[in-house]
Symmetry: C2
Subunit: 205 residues, 2 copies
């Protein structure tokens, strides 16, 4: 950004972005990715169409910015000092997010967008990478404390907590409740303790 384009944090540029991202999320929840339209989003945000077209240019670029914002808004990891409690906190955060009507619909919409749009897929992969990187130290520290075998892949443990919750949401009519979250965390922890998330090949311990 050039000096002429500089804005105070929280100034008009930030306010416009907040309004447009909120409108884009509303549209994703209501009409899905296939129905996204920059003009409609500008109207919802009460922002000029030209501003939206100039700043984001395409639905794909706007969706990427929605995902960047979702990553920025994502809560920091737990630091309980116990792998069991950290993984449970992670599972409950994922469960509450997916079970929330608006957030759940938003996640389903962006997962769907990613299956039909390569730019959306790339942004989605970045979002999940950011989230996994945020929570991975819970596992690294558990290895350092001797709670998990050396060589355990932190990212795979973090993904193992989320995977059953997403799978349940997509393939069953069953509710995503807190006991489900706790079971997902416990299963990932058991598998990690048994060494299931060390790289394949020769034993590392």
């Amino acid at each position: 950004m050039t000096s002429s384009g500089m804005q105070r944090p929280g100034g008009r540029t930030a306010r416009v972005r907040t309004a447009v991202l909120k409108a884009a999320e509303d549209a994703l929840v209501e009409v899905g990715f296939a129905g996204l339209d920059l003009g409609d989003i500008a109207r919802r945000a009460e922002v000029g169409r030209t501003t939206v077209y100039r700043r984001w240019g395409s639905v794909g670029a706007l969706l990427a910015d929605v995902l960047t914002d979702m990553a920025e808004q994502s809560l920091p990891r737990a630091r309980t000092g116990s792998l069991h409690e950290d993984l449970r906190a992670n599972a409950r955060l994922v469960q509450r997010t997916l079970a929330d009507p608006r957030q759940g619909a938003l996640f389903r919409a962006v997962l769907l967008a990613a299956t039909c749009d390569p730019a959306a897929a790339e942004a989605l992969h970045r979002f999940y990478r950011t989230r996994v990187d945020e929570w991975a130290p819970c596992v690294t520290e558990a290895v350092e404390r001797g709670e998990l075998p050396p060589g355990t892949d932190p990212a795979e443990v973090v993904r193992a907590v989320s995977a059953p919750l997403y799978y349940r949401m997509l393939t069953t009519p069953d509710p995503l409740d807190e006991p489900t979250a706790d079971r997902a965390a416990a299963a990932a922890e058991s598998a990690a303790r048994a060494g299931a998330f060390r790289p394949a090949g020769p034993e590392v311990i």
Copy 2:
């Protein structure tokens, strides 16, 4: 079906269904659920539009029949006599299916259809229920052989094998290869052996 509507197995009715379901799958892979159109599917199948409209009536009903057919075509479970080998066979079957360009695209399309259409969701849930029921005896028999703790929930173990493969497909750019499948099976097995898939509450053993 009344006697006047009876058809020999493999007769015209069956041939029409096969052609229309194949055309519907092609359309799902190419244009996704949002782009499905019964007239287009009739053209692809080289079947009269009236036949397709009379027999299926709506895109949702046709998608439900595609999923019924996918469940019928789904391979029978493994019977190796070992939990480890049975779960690995299941994981590799899921991995090969999702990694196959056509089958993978078809599964992504029906998962997405289910997020925006209640009838599609119901049909999808039936498909996964059928698949879980097919593989659950691998777990029941492992409990009977003493390989797993009594009270282990067979459906949850079967779902735990698939979940990381679907999650990886949807949230990462990483390939779905055979080592990934084997790790998913091993993680589910470890968690099951540790008792992670018994109902919550008082210990059952």
